[in-house]
Symmetry: C2
Subunit: 172 residues, 2 copies
């Protein structure tokens, strides 16, 4: 179309960050299908919570919520679903009567492994013609991206709860 060429916009779109933004948004369908595969055999969207529980030993619901960056109530319900399904064990924290300590059950470990393998299988279909080091390189890049991105999120959260006006330098 290019009805009204906008130099400022063009410049931003061709920026490395602009290219990355485009690709990240285009990843929507990939992530959705992968999520479907991952959660197929789990209650709700439990996969993320399952992974999160596995990551730390004395996980508490609030830890999971912080890790997934969702509301505490969301984490609470996801964990409740996983407990009901026998995938997570919830025991009173001996050190704090309000809290619960979470851990995967054997069934939970099995389920997590199965879900993970399904994801990998689905990915492998698409990565048939990729070199292993290309895949690991992409994975490394994504890991770094997530780290960088979450670091900024944490910083701006610390700075102020106000999220609207604090951060934008759109102007050129």
């Amino acid at each position: 179309m290019t009805t009204h060429p906008d130099p400022r916009f063009q410049a931003a779109a061709d920026t490395p960050a602009g290219q990355l933004a485009r690709q990240l948004y285009g990843l929507a369908s990939v992530r959705r299908e992968l999520g479907k595969v991952a959660n197929a055999e789990l209650p709700g969207h439990g996969f993320g919570a399952l992974v999160s529980v596995r990551k730390r030993e004395h996980a508490r619901v609030s830890d999971i919520a912080a890790d997934l960056q969702v509301d505490l109530s969301v984490a609470s319900r996801q964990i409740a679903g996983l407990v009901a399904a026998g995938l997570v064990e919830r025991q009173p924290d001996p050190a704090d009567g309000r809290a619960h300590v979470l851990a995967l059950t054997d069934a939970g470990i099995t389920a997590l492994r199965a879900a993970f393998l399904e994801m990998v299988a689905r990915l492998d279909q698409s990565l048939a013609d990729w070199a292993p080091e290309e895949i690991t390189q992409l994975a490394a890049g994504l890991e770094r991206l997530a780290t960088s991105f979450n670091a900024v999120a944490a910083t701006s959260a610390d700075a102020d709860a106000d999220t609207d006006s604090a951060d934008q330098e759109v102007a050129a």
Copy 2:
């Protein structure tokens, strides 16, 4: 942070595809926040639809649905929202009375650019210490991933000769 070493799980996680799977799933919060930024000023989750309308000239609702890989009804409602907001124009197709031809209005172009610039701005905060070529490399990897992934999806879903105009251009 693993307390009970699980060799089998670790082995699965350490394959290249396994690493990629983990990182893709870990991208949830990144994509969510980026989506929030992108859709902040738009009705519903309109950004994707807006991009999709922008990509092709004589877009129809079914084209958008296919492009976004969502149900036709979802696309219909998103487009309706964008039309109501004055960002998309919907005119009867002169060649087919059942169909509508979609196009961005000037306001739509403006809104799309603004949303895109917001996304880029948010990303730039996180990418401050990245080398430009690292960013472009990651973007290229993601583009290839999306291509590979959607190719498999298309094959398994329905062998469709829908090899129309090239995709992935937010900028114009």
